[in-house]
Every structure is written in structure tokens, then in C-alpha cells.
Symmetry: C2
Subunit: 238 residues, 2 copies
Amino acid sequence: MANKSLEICFSPAIFEAHADKEAIVVVVDILRATSSICTAFANGVSEIIPVNSVNDAREMKNKGYLLAAERDGFVLDFADFGNSPFNFTSEKVRGRTVAYSTTNGTGMMKMAAVSHDVVIGSYLNFTSLCNWLIKQDRKVLIVCSGWKQRFSLEDTLCAGAIAEKLINEGGFTSVCDSVHASLDLWKVAKSDILGYVEKAAQRSRLRDKGLDDCIPYCHTFDITDIIPVLRNGRLTAL
Amino acid sequence: MANKSLEICFSPAIFEAHADKEAIVVVVDILRATSSICTAFANGVSEIIPVNSVNDAREMKNKGYLLAAERDGFVLDFADFGNSPFNFTSEKVRGRTVAYSTTNGTGMMKMAAVSHDVVIGSYLNFTSLCNWLIKQDRKVLIVCSGWKQRFSLEDTLCAGAIAEKLINEGGFTSVCDSVHASLDLWKVAKSDILGYVEKAAQRSRLRDKGLDDCIPYCHTFDITDIIPVLRNGRLTAL
């Protein structure tokens, strides 16, 4: 059990300081990328191809892929739809391969690809994800996607929730200050997650754009058992 | 009062996302750089010249400067002394110019020099610093030096303490998630700061090297009124 160490990285900008090719990386981007990805798999998507740049997204569209793409909350004009989890309906995505590009989350996935495995975390697949992580005898690094390199409360809370379960039920240990901070913030927030998230900056950004209808949904535990995993540049169900 | 906004940056790696040439930057590196700098000024140092690289530190020593320099907690062999605040005694530093190079804090100071002003924050000059910040009609950005780009608890707690005072007594407001997190962690920790800091990774690093004797001192409020400020690459008393 010596490998069951746990770290949390608060920003893609800090990833290099935590990077470890032996670790399993859990990418968290609660509002909204990783919640949308879990929804897509729950609704039967075949594969999701994370795409970094707007140009790459356009190229995937030209190649005939279904394209979900947004920047700063706005749908790219040539995309089929944007980043709300409510877009990834069974009617749209079942059996399809979707190309996907977002402001923060998809870039983080590609950066993390140096790791042993990269999996997608959210409240929506929380218990299944934690139970799988506990079964691996391997270091876990939870990476919060944040907002344009900045720390984000909503990602940190989910990281704290995962950390709590891994430590309490999985025998994980940590000497990482980010883990202690996330655990304490989760303890403060967990009796009223949605109330706490009211003060998150991303909450305000989404409200300003009329995109905040998905927030309660994105904080719902366990709508799916599927753990999306990044293999050869594509997300598939583990 | 529209300018009284407040941000906290959790790592030098995230500084670019927060950088604002109109802001006053408060650099915090509680264990130990900014505590040592405040101690040096309390003991009558004339100026401190932050130096980034080991080579630059050696060059300053060769030029005849008194040199305080460490890496990873160890004194550089050609330095006069290391980074403990207890080194910066009145006998050694009064009236002198000291060249100073540390693992985290001094690099952060040079990076922040693009800002309107860069001042040094610690518990040791807490009240004087906060009262001065409150008098300025200007955005404040508190930068936690952390450890090799990583988030650090002890810096975050001090940032939270400063934030609490600026918001409660100075009319500052914030939409920055790092501020909300720091405030909540400070609330959790403030009734027993030293007990809370026991779990900080830097606490363990210092203990492992026998350097933890300074930790209670570094969490003492208000031993000095002096606010060190960076002007033309040199720290002087404001």
C-alpha cells in the first residue's frame, strides 16, 4: 500500500510541479467539462476526442465529426453544440464520436497525458471513480482545471470530496498541502454544496451568460458508473 | 472605493493570470523568507537586495555584500548565513545592505516587480501592513510564494488573515475564488494556528532539517511596524 499517496493540483499552471508518470491523474472541471463528458458517456457516446485549439476544432468539424466546442461559455459558431451537459443527449451522442474543445478542461487532459492513466472525475461518477481508484495500488493526482490558470472553488470541493473518500475508505495518505486545504474546504461546504458554490466566480460567469441552469445537476452524485479514460488521445469508457 | 478589490494568487506559477500593473502586490513567504525580511528591518538592516540565482548570489558575495542565501533549507556554503529569521540579528545587519537569495520567496519578488508596488507581508508586520493597504485606494494582490510552485498552507493562512482584515475593516471586496478559500481556511485555523500548521508540508521539511525552531516566532503578530517595499530592485523600509 506504499503507493497509495495522494496529491491535488490546483491549476494547470502548477501541473509540472506535481507531474508523475507513475500516477493516475483525475481531471476535474465541474462547471462544466468533466460533468458534460460523464453525461455524454452515460448517454451512450462512443468516444470523445479532446481538441485544444479553435483551429483544431474547426478541422475536426470539417472532417465530419460531431463537434462540441465553447470558449468563455459561448458556443463556437461552427460547432454543433456547446459545453452544457444538457447538450449531450442520448439522441445526439449515442454511438457517435464527438470532438470536444473547452476553455479549460480539454487542454488539461492533453497536458496530463504523460501520466500512467488519465481519467475523468465529477460528482456524476463519484462513487464508481473512487472505488476504482481505491482498487489500484498507485499514486493518485487530482488536477483541478480551474479558470484560465486560476484556482477554482467548485473543482477544489470535488477534489476534496474524492480525497476524503480515498483517505477514509481507501488507505490513501498525503503530505500535500493542497489535499489538506481541499479536505477542509469540503468539510466547510459539504452540508450545503450549492449554497457554498454560490460564491464561486464561475457560478457568476455562468449566471451572467444564462448558463447556470446546469449547476445543481453538475453537483449531483452518481448518475453513472462509467469512468471515462484517455487512451491514445481519445476518451472511452474504462 | 471602486479600486478596493482583492485577489490572492496561490503560486508563482499562476502569477501571470493575476498580474496587474495597477495593483499593490503583497509577497508572503511565512516559512521563512518574508518573516526573515521583516525581522531584518526590525533589527535595523539598511537595504536587502533580492537575488535569484546561486551564481548571482556568489557574485554579490564577491562584491563584498553580506550574503544570506539558502536552497531547500540549506545554507549555501559561500554565504554568511541562511534563511532563519534568527540569523538576521541587530549585531549582524544593523546599517548594512544584505544580499538575499532563497528557494521561493526572492524569485517571486522579482517576478512581481511589474506591479504598482511590491511590499513584504508576514504576521510580524501584520497590522501595520493591513492599515497601510487600507489607506491606499488601490487593488491588492496577495501572492503566496509556496514551495517550488506548489500551494502552501502557511502562506495561504496569512493571506486569509490579511484578506479578513482588509474586507472587514477596509471595505475591500473580492470575486476571486482564492480569496474565499483563504478566508475559510483562516477561519478553520485561526483559533490554533500552530496546531493547524503542523500539517503543512513545509513544517515537516523544516523539522527534518532541524530548522523548525522559528515556526512559533514566524506566526507572531506585530513585532514591527515596518513595511519593506521593493524599489529599483532593493527592499527598503516604506
